[in-house]
């Protein structure tokens, strides 16, 4: 720390020296020739210089020996001009907006394509514009290689899970670190950011790029850069409006229709209650009293009579009843521009999305302001602040009919939504979801913000010192009201104190204090050195509360003070802190050779004092062969070979994971009590990650053809795992460092302008992304197999993470229609045993390949683009499908039409087993419903028209763009029944709720949508 300040002091002291000889001139924009006011003109290697006046003119006395002028202006590319004895120099500068394509945002700075040595994917903000999703992470799907994105589910505003280069951890976090304008975010902020405000996103995929983020870099880093103002530009005002609809994605199977289901039940000898009642009404004498008698009577009827009774039952389309065509709209106003030394961007946005079921909505209002001000040439200060308010009306996330998306697959078509007397029909499930949506309301509001205040000085042209305080906070408040008199309240509430209300929430504040120093030196225009040093302190404070009371006099009052008695009053709190030192050195020669090394040391409060410090490093090199004379290529071409290696860590393991803990948050007889709550492990240490990657980047024919091929190997050591232990210890699990995981892969990207005729404004572009990732557990504690999630997966050396582990289904016995499985030796058995589980080779929940194909055709002002996403190689335990094909176990509930095809007589093959009414078949978990998850999905199709400028002149508009787009409008899945984009199961789904893609389980369905919109710029 002390040394660091000494160095800075020394560097500052170097800056101030004195000198003599006169020079004058002007500084102008290279395109429109407007004079640039306030540009800094300095003799190179000194601080002597001047700032241009209102006419862009400068004049000052040159120090002795000065040969070069350095001209700089925010928003423009720095320029060096040789003096060559002249006394008047006119300089033109190029706006850096024009060269932005080449600038790549990297950790704690920027770089250019020819100089990067690590794997960094950049995504232009344009690709994220007006995509109708509430959460920006969803929009990254298919945008680049090595980044697998799956929507958690289709709830409006719901986030996605992102895996950068495979699953690198099991128990510790698997999500990348998000950094917005230099501030590492804590937690789930994605739905709070308006994606239209994003200028670009960089994804740091390998050690060389991500190890500068040390203990948080191992899952990759997503750097989000927001839009900034342009100095010296007229204000540009833009208004954007979009509206459209969303619907449930159609599923590729049918449920039994009313008559099929009734016939099915009849054949099974099951008589449902509505039918029993109808028989009693149709045949009043002699009086039928029992279900069995009704069934007996029913069996004596002729086909016609039977149909008549069947037809008297209602025929409800539950899909139509419980889902809706949801509206979506967003409007936005933004303005950007700047004066001589000031730049600003400001936006206001309102995003409204209804859910596809009543009771589900998402609304976000957000504002972003981004300003930079340079009062003097060597000093800049700035601020980016984003504030959002997101409101959600939520449905209960349950794995039963308290969720409409389970009810949809559970209620029978012969059951009406309401009874003849107008009461809600409780159905065979004893619960009316339609009533619950009205009477058990749940909503939440999240207020969030990200703000970064910084100051930056350039004591000399090559040195930049930056100090910033960033903060991100989130305030979440949820209310859940079980209205008095609601059906659920009657089931779970207190009859003497009806109604119950829950208020819970949390507040998280994360602040980051960061000081960096950056030294860039170019020697003879050939050698370039970049040095970076920094100190950073991060602290996170979290507090939560939950209040619940019961006994509400009327459903019109909802605050806790109206409850007759408190039920729950609880709060929680935790902190973590991180102190880091970081440094990076890069050297490049002629944009031909580049080498880079970085180092970071993190101290984390989450580990015991012995293992608190972690040091992470990286090295990398690149060689742009295109610049070699023997290649004879044009200057713009790039053919770069690069290789890098390094380490990073993963600290997402909870806050106090290593301690043996005794909890006091329990009570007995309402008196204080204590009990062990955590089995500690003092040896617990960092989960480390070592990876290397190598690749070739190319860009030929004036960038008409560009892309890359890359190989990577990413290895996680000292894997932290919630290891099952013998339950005789009194615990089920303990955290241990038990093994290693490896992800190896290939990434390919090709982008080609198939047709490019600038004179006719005609362009046809095609692009292909492909990622292959092979995931493997390479070492496990003592070489043992460890049970994975939900009893259906296992971890074993040499197999992918969470390889499925189940008994093998051997089909229906053609002789008697019974179930058959294979035992561990491969013999057919007819009795189910979980002990017959085997590792199902090659079947695991993570996709092994994914990518997208996109094409854009532009002609004059028209454009049409399509984005086709594909993913596969994964398997999904399709529990929705098994519930709908239960072989009679769930015969009382809705079943798939396929379930009709069951064993009826000896010799039947390719059929489901003979149904057993209300049997135990649902416990016979096997690979029968383990389905291949390969799919293709037309993620987005956009048709747009840009009205010609000449038509707008009279309207004083700069541009008008109208467009129409469709999301998820077509899906193809060969083997999978249902929507193959499986994220998390419903909240009560056990394994399915914790690891994405492992099991489908009645989660909020994915949606397809159509929207249209207009962008007007003044």
């Amino acid at each position: 720390m002390k040394k660091f300040s000494l160095i800075i002091a020394a560097l500052i002291a170097m800056v101030f020296t004195v000198s003599a000889q006169q020079i004058k001139g002007t500084v102008k924009d290279n395109l429109d020739g407007t004079p640039l006011v306030g540009a800094s003109v300095v003799a190179k290697g000194t601080t002597t210089g001047s700032v241009t006046d209102a006419n862009g003119a400068f004049e000052f006395t040159l120090p002795n020996g000065a040969t070069t002028l350095v001209v700089s202006f925010v928003g423009y590319v720095n320029k060096e001009v040789a003096i060559n004895g002249q006394s008047t120099l006119d300089v033109t500068m190029e706006s850096d907006a024009n060269v932005l394509g080449d600038v790549i945002v990297v950790g704690y700075g920027t770089s250019v394509k020819t100089r990067t040595v690590g794997s960094v994917s950049t995504i232009s903000g344009k690709n994220l514009d007006q995509i109708p999703f509430g959460s920006l992470d969803n929009m990254l799907q298919g945008q680049t290689t090595g980044v697998q994105v799956t929507g958690l589910n289709g709830r409006p505003g719901q986030r996605a899970f992102i895996r950068v280069r495979g699953t690198g951890s099991i128990t510790a976090g698997r999500d990348p670190l998000y950094v917005v304008d230099g501030i590492p975010l804590s937690g789930d902020f994605y739905s709070l950011i308006n994606a239209n405000d994003i200028d670009n996103i960089s994804v740091l995929k390998d050690a060389a790029s991500a190890s500068i983020y040390g203990s948080r870099g191992s899952n990759g880093v997503v750097l989000v850069t927001t839009k900034k103002g342009n100095k010296k530009r007229q204000p540009e005002l833009q208004f954007r409006y979009q509206r459209g609809i969303k619907r449930i994605t159609p599923y590729n199977f049918d449920l039994m229709n009313q008559s099929d289901k009734l016939k099915y039940e009849y054949d099974l000898g099951f008589l449902n209650r509505p039918l029993e009642d109808s028989i009693k009404v149709a045949y009043p004498t002699p009086a039928i009293t029992t279900n069995a008698a009704a069934l007996a009577k029913f069996k004596t009827l002729s086909d016609g009579e039977r149909d008549k009774v069947w037809n008297s039952l209602s025929n409800t389309d539950w899909l139509k009843t419980l889902t809706r065509q949801a509206n979506l709209s967003s409007y936005e106003l933004n303005i950007r521009g700047g004066s001589d030394n000031f730049g600003y961007y400001f936006s206001l946005n309102n995003y409204d999305e209804e859910g596809i079921s009543q009771g589900s909505t998402f609304n976000r209002k957000s504002a972003l302001i981004n300003v930079q001000y340079s009062p003097i040439s060597w000093f800049t200060l700035g601020n980016m602040t984003n504030i959002s308010v997101a409101k959600n009306d939520q449905l209960r996330d349950r794995n039963n009919v308290q969720s409409p998306f389970r009810a949809l697959f559970s209620y029978n078509s012969y059951e009406p939504e309401k009874l003849a007397n107008g009461d809600w029909n409780l159905t065979h499930q004893g619960f009316s979801i339609s009533e619950a949506i009205l009477n058990n309301v749940e909503n939440d509001i999240t207020i969030g913000g990200v703000s970064n205040i910084y100051g930056e000085i350039k004591p000399m042209a090559d040195l930049k010192i930056r100090s910033s305080l960033g903060i991100n906070f989130r305030d979440f408040q949820r209310e859940y009201y079980l209205k008095p008199g609601s059906i659920l309240d009657q089931f779970v509430g207190d009859p003497a104190a009806p109604g119950s209300k829950t208020d819970n929430g949390n507040r998280e504040v994360n602040y980051v204090l960061s000081n960096t120093i950056n030294y860039t030196k170019e020697l003879n225009k050939n050698h370039r050195i970049d040095l970076l040093g920094g100190v950073e302190y991060t602290e996170n404070n979290f507090k939560s509360y939950s209040l619940q009371s019961k006994g509400y006099p009327t459903d019109k009052v909802t605050t806790q003070n109206n409850g007759a008695a408190a039920v729950v009053t609880t709060s929680n709190r935790f902190d973590w802190a991180l102190f880091s030192l970081l440094g990076r050195a890069s050297y490049s020669y002629l944009d031909k050779y580049a080498v880079e090394a970085s180092l970071r040391n993190d101290g984390s409060s989450r580990f015991g004092s012995q293992n608190r410090q972690g040091t992470f490093w990286s090295v990398g090199a690149g060689w742009n062969i295109a610049r070699e004379k023997f290649m004879g290529m044009s200057q713009e071409s790039i053919l770069k070979i690069r290789a890098a290696a390094g380490t990073s860590g993963n600290f997402e393991i909870g806050n106090y994971p290593w301690q043996d803990l005794y909890a006091l948050n329990i009570s007995y007889g309402d008196r204080t009590a204590s009990a062990p709550s955590q089995l500690g492990n003092r040896e617990l240490t960092w989960e480390k990650n070592f990876n290397w990657s190598t690749g070739i980047e190319y860009e030929f024919f004036k960038s008409r053809l560009k892309g890359y091929v890359e190989f990577y190997n990413k290895k996680t050591f000292d894997l932290i795992f919630t290891t099952p232990v013998s339950q005789t210890t009194g615990f089920a699990t303990v955290l241990k460092n038990i093994g290693d995981i490896q992800n190896q892969g290939v990434e390919v990207s090709v982008n080609y302008d198939l047709i490019s005729v600038p004179s006719k404004k005609l362009k046809l572009n095609v692009g292909l992304n492909y990622t292959f990732n092979a995931n493997k557990v390479t070492k496990l504690f003592n070489g043992k197999e460890v049970d994975g999630l939900g009893g259906i997966t296992r971890l074993k050396e040499g197999f992918p993470v969470y390889n499925y582990y189940m008994p093998r289904w051997a089909g229906t016995d053609p002789d008697d229609g019974g179930h058959r499985w294979l035992d561990t030796l491969g013999n057919v058995v007819k009795t189910y045993s979980a002990g017959n589980s085997v590792i199902l080779d090659g079947k695991s929940p993570d996709p092994t390949y994914y990518g997208n194909f996109r094409t854009t055709l532009e002609y004059q002002g028209f454009s049409i683009s399509a984005n086709l996403y594909y993913s596969g190689g994964n398997y999904i335990q399709n529990s929705i499908w098994s519930t709908l094909n239960s072989d009679g176990a769930n015969a009382r509930s809705a079943q798939a039409a396929d379930a009709l095809n069951y064993w009826k007589q000896k010799g039947d093959v390719n059929v489901s087993p003979k149904p057993i009414l209300n049997g135990g078949q649902t416990n016979w978990t096997s690979d029968r419903f383990l389905q291949k998850g390969d799919f293709l999905r037309l993620r987005n199709v956009t048709v747009a028209y840009e009205i010609p400028e000449r038509a707008l002149k009279s309207l004083k508009m700069k541009s008008v763009r109208v467009y129409f787009q469709g999301q998820n409008i077509w899906t193809w899945a060969k083997d999978y029944k249902g929507d193959p984009e499986v994220g998390l199961g419903s909240g009560e789904g056990g394994a399915a709720a914790t690891y994405g893609g492992i099991q489908s389980l009645f989660s909020y369905p994915q949606t397809l949508g159509f929207t249209g919109g207009i962008d007007v710029t003044f």
Partner: protein
């Protein structure tokens, strides 16, 4: 410029200067284990924490399954067609190692809590002796009395948890061969021990040792919500009955009943199930409104639409309750749900006020101890008079206008066993009693409706020797503890 630049950096560097020390952070809501056993009240909290462990968590031990599963496994109940069809895994005996009772996990969680107390107790006594007199203890007598009670309570809970588990996972004491396996008997908090299963006999022996020790040390009164000397004596009587040691059973029962005689009067009996009376209750697990553990919810839920039962009483058993039997009204209610009338089990409907289905779980009552003794007398030979006296004592407190019975021999024994079934139904005994007696499960052909008609799609019989009488251990235990063997046939 110079000044500005320098001050800019002094400010920004100062702000970072002291950050390195801020990494020493501890939780706000928990203690490190070493801090948890320092004072007397720490031990009282830890003891209460063991009882809390019976209830909380996922409520599948005394908070629910204890009073449900042994009845669902046996012939006392019938799955109700109007219910959600829960519990069929047990009811139809289709459990596997991946879908078995979580009592293994819950039991050892409880045992771990008792062992932590026992391991820290001596250190506490030694450390506290030097500080006497202090605010809690005026002299060593008080300290020792406190420590003895803690020890007795911890030992009794440890024995009880092992007892509950061996009833599920092991064969009956009498029918088990010497090599048949019970459960691991855990007496330390060593997390690396990987204990093997004891034999059934050895498990029962160790249970007995702990109960006997506990009786010596435990205090006479800790309140009905905690174990006391009489409750331990009652549990000892149960343990001896399961072992078939009739005289020991008679002695332990007598010690218990001498200190606490009432089996609950006819007037008080219905109130016991509403927690309005503790007449005849030796120990019950307290469940408060705040705990909100709905122990009865696995039997039924009640709304304005009526009571929706998961399980109704088997009609054959229902008919055995006579009109003048106070238990008939206390245990059942016959009402309609969705147009069909059922005999619902109302024993766990909850208190007169408060949340539905929230009620204390009765673990041992005088009536059971009396029945234990009556059975022991009837089996030991030559003690029919005493057996009859005990049986009559219970019956006169259950049947209005009861005239003393005069049975003897096997008629008397059968009458005692019938009374046992009637008295302890839906309290977690039936399956274990059948196993103890070497009987199979044989269910009636009646349906789920109040008149015995209606649906009845369940499995009917489980033969006495079936392996299904011993539930499978969780697969996780087999996978993580190489010393533990699975029960045969799973």
């Amino acid at each position: 410029m110079k000044k500005l630049a320098i001050s800019f950096f002094i400010v920004s560097l100062l702000s970072l200067n002291s950050c390195g020390d801020k990494l020493e952070l501890n939780p706000y809501n928990a203690l490190e284990t070493t801090q948890a056993f320092e004072t007397g009240s720490d031990f009282t909290n830890a003891i209460r924490g063991t009882y809390a462990g019976m209830v909380l968590g996922n409520a599948s031990y005394y908070g629910g399954d204890y009073i449900l599963t042994p009845d669902v496994l046996a012939d006392n109940v019938l799955s109700c067609g109007a219910g959600r069809l829960t519990g069929l895994t047990y009811h139809n005996w289709i459990y596997t190692a991946n879908a078995t009772t979580s009592i293994f996990n819950e039991g050892y969680r409880l045992i771990r809590r008792t062992n932590a107390i026992l391991e820290n107790l001596d250190r506490f006594v030694k450390n506290t002796e030097g500080t006497i007199p202090n605010t809690l203890f005026r002299n060593t007598t008080e300290l020792n009395a406190f420590a003895n009670n803690v020890k007795g309570e911890a030992l009794a809970i440890r024995a009880l948890a092992h007892f509950d588990m061996v009833r599920y996972f092991g064969k009956g004491f009498s029918s088990a061969a010497d090599s048949d396996l019970g459960v691991p008997y855990v007496t330390s908090t060593d997390a690396t021990a990987l204990p093997a299963r004891e034999t059934v006999k050895a498990t029962y022996d160790k249970i007995l040792v702990d109960f006997v020790e506990a009786e010596k040390f435990i205090a006479v009164s800790n309140g009905v919500g905690r174990l006391n000397k009489v409750a331990v004596q009652g549990l000892l009587s149960r343990a001896y009955l399961y072992r078939g040691e009739w005289q020991n059973c008679i002695d332990a029962s007598t010690r218990c009943l001498t200190a606490s005689a009432s089996v609950g009067t006819i007037a008080n009996f219905p109130n016991v199930w509403k927690d309005a009376s503790n007449d005849g209750v030796l120990f019950k697990v307290t469940i408060t409104e705040k705990d909100n553990v709905s122990v009865g919810v696995n039997y039924s839920q009640t709304s304005t639409a009526g009571t929706r039962s998961e399980f109704v009483v088997d009609y054959d058993l229902y008919q055995k309750y006579k009109t003048e039997d106070v238990r008939k009204g206390a245990y059942f209610v016959t009402t309609a749900f969705s147009g069909t009338t059922y005999n619902h089990i109302s024993k766990n409907f909850g208190r007169a006020t408060g949340r539905a289905n929230v009620v204390d779980v009765k673990v041992i009552r005088n009536a059971e101890v009396l029945l234990n003794r009556a059975e022991a007398y009837a089996r030991i030979g030559g003690k029919d008079t005493e057996a009859l006296a005990d049986a009559n004592n219970l019956r006169k407190n259950r049947y209005t206008g009861y005239v003393n019975g005069t049975e003897s021999g096997s008629t008397l024994l059968n009458a005692i066993l019938l009374e046992r079934r009637l008295e302890l139904a839906f309290e977690g005994h039936r399956f274990f009693d059948l196993k103890r007696l070497g009987l199979g499960v044989s269910r009636s052909n009646f349906g789920d409706k109040s008149d015995g008609t209606g649906a009845n799609n369940i499995a009917k019989t489980l033969d006495a020797g079936s392996f299904k009488f011993q539930l499978p251990l969780p697969q996780q235990e087999i996978n993580t503890n190489s010393n533990v063997k699975q029960n045969p046939n799973y």
